[in-house]
């Protein structure tokens, strides 16, 4: 029976512009009840201050869980002049009557002269809820790997039998960006463990490790949705709309990002096996239920086109997207950027609202969205979302809709890159308070490296004169 997973906290060190930052999810979710459990968090701050760092850190971890290696872009995430970067995420896991806490940690560094990042240290720790004592047990290390210590001098701590360790060692040595724990080889070795007796502590731990790894992998594959801006760079240029579909159909579920080519001449449109079409159309139907309320009267249609056959003779199909408004059907390409973006994230949002074990992270959620609409959507999410949602944004209107405990602000402080605003009274308007803090607070430079209107004006004029435009 699959475990139910929710993120508890995310911590990063020397990751992009963040020296030391931690985000806590309160995870009010009471397993087994339908109590109000709102884990909606907004992250705000000036450009380049570290908001997107959270999303990128999670992206890295998700990639490790799903594919077993550090993506190449991770080397670019190590803070300037630092040797290594670290990310640590804690997860609640609930299965049957058991509640577990898992702590996954990874530290990575740049290889000299090479572009690929290398994993320096990695571990997975576990804590179990003890009903009789009404608290968690102490941390147990399920497995730990240190590149400097390949022989595993912590043999007593390690759950892996020596023979397995050597096999993994070999694999990881040649590909230093491969995860020790989420390596396909590790996963297949762990699967074999079931055959051993469960009597010894070591074997028990192996089973716990296998269980944790399998569930985290499943979580990353199907529940953890991360929407960053990389894909959107393509919309204006290539008119590829990334659709984040998340739907369980009768036979097939659709999970993940699916590119829809909006351009008219679709000579090389992405194709999918035709058998997925019903699930995709179900997803579209689901999206339309919400879309028509957000942009009144608008729905989208995916028309199957260009049937073809794949190398194994399976039927493939491609899709032509249309926007339909008051009976008028136009190619989706002609709709505005904002509308395309809303359509793109809607399926993921629907899942996050209704499924408590979805974690949705959206970078720049307000991009292209009408402020009033954004406020209304945030309002709805803050009252009804069952899943976990984290977003970054620039538009401050959502600050007027969410409690201060659900907003993190970036800082220039070395040891606390993300903070809540302090001294907030229930009557305060958070947006006004944030502005006031930025402009009038005596420690305003903790939040912002100040820029001056007068200097900006003069700079514009000065640059204009150099250009010969005056």
């Amino acid at each position: 029976m699959p475990a139910e997973v929710r993120i508890k906290s995310i911590r990063m060190q020397n990751f992009k512009s963040v020296s030391n930052g931690k985000i806590d999810f309160n995870t009010h979710y009471e397993f087994g009840t339908t109590e109000n459990a709102i884990d909606l968090y907004g992250v705000y701050g000036p450009n380049g201050s570290g908001k997107t760092a959270i999303i990128d850190a999670c992206s890295v971890i998700k990639n490790i869980f799903r594919k077993g290696y550090l993506p190449e872009k991770a080397s670019g995430f190590i803070k300037q002049n630092q040797l290594s970067s670290a990310v640590e995420i804690e997860f609640f896991l609930h299965v049957g009557n058991d509640v577990l806490l898992l702590n996954y940690f990874i530290e990575f560094s740049n290889q000299d002269l090479r572009r690929e990042p290398i994993i320096v240290q990695e571990w997975l720790k576990r804590k179990e809820w003890d009903e009789s004592k009404n608290k968690f047990s102490s941390w147990q290390t399920l497995e730990r790997f240190k590149r400097s210590d390949l022989r595993g001098n912590d043999a007593s701590e390690s759950a892996f039998a020596v023979q397995y360790r050597r096999q993994i060692e070999g694999a990881v040595k040649s590909d230093p960006n491969r995860s020790w724990l989420f390596n396909p080889l590790t996963k297949s070795l762990l699967k074999e463990i079931k055959e051993y007796s469960k009597s010894s502590a070591k074997e028990r731990r192996l089973i716990q490790l296998q269980f944790a790894v399998a569930n985290l992998e499943e979580y990353a594959e199907n529940q953890w949705l991360i929407i960053n801006n990389e894909a959107y760079g393509e919309i204006p240029v290539l008119n590829i709309l990334p659709m984040y579909l998340h739907h369980q159909g009768d036979e097939f579920g659709v999970h993940g990002s699916f590119p829809i080519d909006c351009s008219l001449s679709g000579s090389s449109k992405p194709t999918l096996p035709k058998k997925f079409e019903p699930a995709i159309q179900e997803s579209i139907h689901q999206i339309n239920i919400v879309l028509s309320q957000i942009i009144v009267g608008l729905t989208i249609e995916l028309t199957p086109v260009s049937p073809s056959f794949g190398p194994n003779g399976e039927e493939l199909v491609s899709f032509e997207p249309f926007a339909v408004r008051s009976g008028n059907r136009i190619p989706l390409m002609y709709e505005s950027f904002g509308i395309k973006r809303i359509i793109s994230i809607l399926s993921a949002l629907i899942a996050a609202v209704n499924n408590p074990f979805i974690c949705l992270m959206i970078d720049e959620m307000d991009s292209g969205v009408f402020e009033y609409l954004l406020g209304e959507i945030i309002s709805v999410l803050s009252e009804t979302a069952k899943g976990q949602i984290l977003f970054t944004a620039h538009n401050l209107h959502p600050l007027e809709k969410i409690r201060y405990k659900n907003i993190y602000f970036t800082t220039t402080l070395e040891d606390e890159s993300f903070v809540h605003l302090k001294n907030v009274k229930t009557t305060n308007n958070l947006r006004d308070l944030y502005y006031r803090t930025l402009i009038l607070s005596l420690d305003s430079d903790q939040y912002l490296n100040p820029f001056k209107e007068g200097k900006i004006r003069h700079a514009f004029r000065k640059a204009g004169r150099m250009n010969g435009t005056t």
């Binding site: 308007n429 009038l440 607070s441 005596l442």
Partner: protein, 257 residues
Amino acid sequence: MGRRKAKKVIFILVEGPTDKECYQNLFDVIFDQSQIVFNINHCDITSDFNSTNINHQISNLVKQKIENERIFKAGDLLQIVLMSDTDGCFIDPSKIVEDLDCTKPVYESDCIRTSNCEMIQKRNEIKGQRLSKIASVPEVNVLRKPVPFMAVYHSCNLEHALFHKNNLTPEQKEEFAFKFTDQYEGRETDFIEDSREYLPDGCKAEYAESWRYIKIGTNSLKPGTNVFCLFQELQEYLTPKGLKVLESCIQKENSSI
């Protein structure tokens, strides 16, 4: 003891389009940014005010800004300043000379030349009365908090007072504002010293005196500004460097008496 962990606000009302551009960068550097924030806004003396209860009207303008921006409160205000051009409004009507070639009034050192003397006379009367009233206001009540008030003049306008140029086109004004900002970049505190020089010839460096002086004869046509009095008034909020410059100015002043 209040838990006041906030900077103080100096609220400035300016008339001309280039006043803000000229003064914003100067004030930001001359005054201690860790204690003070400037809020500079445009207004129009002739239309935003009428002669009755100037105090009330200035208060309303400030109140409106507070309500619109929702960032600072009345309690944050340290000082309210109004900056205005004299435009020769205190001269005797006999110094308004008819010249049918002048489509716009031309300001000279001892007269104003215009094709419509009556209009200029009327304008001077109104403006003169208003400026007089404004200059005599010591404090303004904003949302029941008394805030010290000061009126700074540029005679006969900003360009004349700071660059000794008159009757400029808008493009020329913009050009001067740019050059002015450029020339003080990196040496903003020198302006404190220079502004002592910019007081009208023969005028003492004292606020009430500076206003008394500008109303005499054709002084409101001659170049000058009393912005130096602002630095005197708010000296405890200057940067240490600015304070030093101010003190040496005052020393020079005292030694020459």
